[in-house]
């Protein structure tokens, strides 16, 4: 098991490296002159040259690439300031270290993703299971119709409406905002409630449909028939046996989903003005803030890869055939 994990992590590192390289060359090889972007409106040729040298842009692209990598592992100097390892460079826009910004924004994204996950997994899986058990009844049909609507609605649309009705009019929910958990747990929860629910609403619909389908498959499996032939009660059949087969596809899909969410739930974050990675990404792209874009891509890829490893570990827990 240990060896397995080490191998997976090494594989993950390789993937990250490739992702990084591709991003680097894609963005840094762009025709835009990063120095000019960084220089601002009142730009003289002298400052431009200075910035260029500070940022290392006067070097060839492979050299820049090399220095970036060295920076990640050993830190590097930008002009007068030293950026210690792991160094992802400085933002062109506000000249803050990229890593600090990312670390600053990540808790918001993490809070949003995990909180919403708890809700949509719980609700979605439960509805899907129920619908599968009561297949063909009004319960099944109505929840599935509802979930079809849920799955086709967009977050912007739902978010704006929900905010208007639940926050502005009825005042049932507090204003959506992000307060750090460490400072004010109650406020953290209250502020995120609406974003969680909105995100969960759309996702729960997807998981309900997925769970229903895979549960129906699982109920048709031979070994579930065997369990029934042994005289076990329906409850035992469902809760002890059938769900294991049904949950595997859910875990697979959630693994991908979690990776995406941790890389920044772009739409949700912009809709509710949550200062997370997603919003950061949008701003970085808008400003052509290349070091920041690279940083965001790296963190998104890391999240994906780690989520993948987690999924494999969960598989092994669920299914003994996967264990070593």
């Amino acid at each position: 098991m240990f060896r397995f994990l080490v191998q997976r992590l090494l594989g993950a590192a390789l993937i990250l490296f490739v992702v990084f390289t591709v991003t680097f060359f894609l963005f840094f090889a762009m025709p835009d002159d990063p120095a000019r972007l960084s220089c601002g409106k009142t730009c003289t040729p002298e400052t431009l040259a200075l910035i260029r040298r500070d940022l290392g842009l006067d070097e060839s692209v492979p050299m820049q690439y090399w220095h970036y990598i060295v920076g990640v592992f050993a830190g590097r100097d930008f002009g007068t300031s030293h950026c210690s390892a792991p160094c992802l460079g400085y933002s062109f826009v506000n000249h803050e270290p990229v890593l600090d910004t990312l670390l600053d924004r990540f808790p918001a994204t993490l809070s949003l993703a995990l909180g919403a996950s708890v809700i949509f997994l719980g609700v979605g899986v439960m509805i899907g299971m129920l619908a599968a058990l009561r297949r063909g009844t009004w319960l099944d049909k109505s929840t599935m119709a509802l979930s079809l609507i849920g799955a086709s609605v967009t977050i912007q649309f739902l978010g704006v409406i929900a905010r208007y009705v639940l926050v502005d009019q009825l005042r049932w929910l507090p204003k959506p905002e992000y307060l750090p958990f460490t400072g004010d747990p109650g406020g953290w929860m209250g502020g995120l409630l609406l974003p969680w629910l909105t995100l969960a609403c759309v996702q729960a619909a997807v998981y309900a449909r997925l769970t229903r389908a895979s549960m129906i498959d699982a109920l048709g499996e031979d070994h579930v028939r065997t369990v029934r032939a042994k005289g076990l009660t329906s409850r035992q059949v469902y809760l002890k046996h059938a769900w294991r087969g049904a949950i595997t596809p859910v875990v697979t899909v959630y693994g991908i989903e979690l990776g995406v969410l941790l890389g920044g739930a772009v739409v949700t974050e912009t809709t509710f003005n949550i200062p997370g990675i997603g919003k950061l990404a949008v701003n970085a792209v808008a400003n052509s803030d290349l070091p920041m874009i690279t940083g965001v891509v790296l963190i998104a890829a890391t999240a994906m890869v780690l989520a993948n490893v987690a999924v494999d570990a969960v598989y092994a827990v669920i299914d003994p055939r996967v264990r070593v």
Partner: protein
């Protein structure tokens, strides 16, 4: 003689499908005596599995109608509540399925799966149930049973898995074991082991067995009685030796003539049954076998083409065949006369529509 352990009368199972109504089982009657083995043979789709699954209510109930009667030791099974059936399953009637790889849960150890069955029906404690599970695994010939009980099924070979299935099915010492093609997925040498094992355990425990198979050789080896099914109907029923040595129904005869056997003279030609099994959505009118039958009664008003034959006694000892050729010739046996009367009360819907 006392009443049989299981008495099935005029069992009918229909599935409503998109293409129409499938008469998967169309009026089947048979008895299973205590401690005896009934072999059910028939081609793919002839209704063998459906017959057995509906006995225990394990079929998919959606769009399915089950009619007729099946009495297990005084308890009516057709239409019984889920609760009643659940208490019977695994305790008084157990099942063993064809593919032991998919029939055992991959998520629990072999021991845990047996323990679960035993505790469900006896309320035994964990420890006691585990001891019992290990004892059963040992009894079905799994070496190092205590260790193997802690392993998952995927670590077992095919034969070992089927042994574990049998151990699980017999853990509560049921009166009836329904084995649906238990050896079809296994090699011949392993098949022989499993059949021997079933015979030994039957002798020790007095369990009655319904053995579903398409292999006439298997039936010849282990069955006391044989039921031959064709297109959802019973075409021949009787003691195994009679049915296999003096088959009366043209289908049974055709089946026997078409299967090569080791005891044949070296150059016996195979005489295949021509044609293919019928569609159950639109079965041929009259005797479902008539389009493939070489002895079909000729003429426009031929009973073969218009009326479905019912089982009638052919000779003594309960040998019966459902063929118009026999209906005229054979004197009805005692058992079948009684069944005939019961059957008369259930008019055949399809016939009613066809006959002027």
């Amino acid at each position: 003689m006392t009443s049989p352990l299981l008495a099935v009368r005029d069992l009918r199972v229909r599935f409503a499908t998109e293409g129409g109504v499938v008469k998967a089982v169309d009026g089947v009657s048979f008895d299973v005596e205590r401690g005896r083995t009934l072999g059910i043979v028939g081609e793919s789709g002839s209704g063998k599995s459906v017959t057995n699954l509906t006995l225990l209510g394990l079929h998919n109930p959606a769009r399915t109608t089950v009619e007729g009667s099946a009495v297990l030791d005084g308890t009516e099974l057709v239409g019984a509540s889920e609760r009643t059936l659940r208490d019977l399953r695994g305790q008084r009637v157990s099942m063993v399925f064809q593919d032991p790889l998919t029939a055992l849960s991959p998520y629990y150890t072999v021991g845990a799966q047996i323990v679960e069955t035993y505790r469900r029906h006896t309320g035994a404690g964990r420890r006691e149930a585990l001891d019992r599970a290990i004892e059963m695994l040992d009894r079905v010939g799994i070496p190092q049973a205590a260790r193997r009980a802690r392993e998952y099924p995927h670590l077992f070979s095919g034969g070992m898995r089927q042994r574990a299935m049998i151990a699980m099915a017999l853990v509560c010492e049921p009166d009836l074991l329904i084995a649906d093609e238990p050896t079809t997925a296994l090699d011949v040498t392993v098949q022989a082991q499993i059949l021997d094992l079933l015979g030994e355990l039957q002798a020790q425990l007095g369990t009655a067995i319904i053995l579903v198979t398409h292999d006439l050789g298997v039936v010849a080896d282990v069955a006391d009685e044989v039921l031959v099914m064709y297109a959802g109907r019973a075409v021949e029923l009787g003691p195994a030796t009679r049915v296999l040595e003096t088959p009366k129904h043209p289908y049974t005869r055709g089946l026997l003539a078409s299967v090569p056997r080791l005891s044949d003279p070296l150059d016996r030609p195979l005489r295949p049954v021509p044609g293919a099994p019928p569609s159950l959505l639109a079965p041929p009118p009259g005797c479902a076998f008539h389009p493939r039958c070489d002895q079909v009664i000729a003429g426009p008003g031929s009973p073969c083409r218009t009326r479905a034959p019912v089982l009638v006694g052919v000779g003594d000892s309960g040998h019966e065949a459902a063929c118009h050729l026999e209906a005229g010739a054979g004197a009805a046996g005692v058992g079948s006369a009684e069944r005939e009367r019961e059957r008369a009360q259930v008019p055949d819907a399809r016939e009613g529509g066809k006959n002027p």
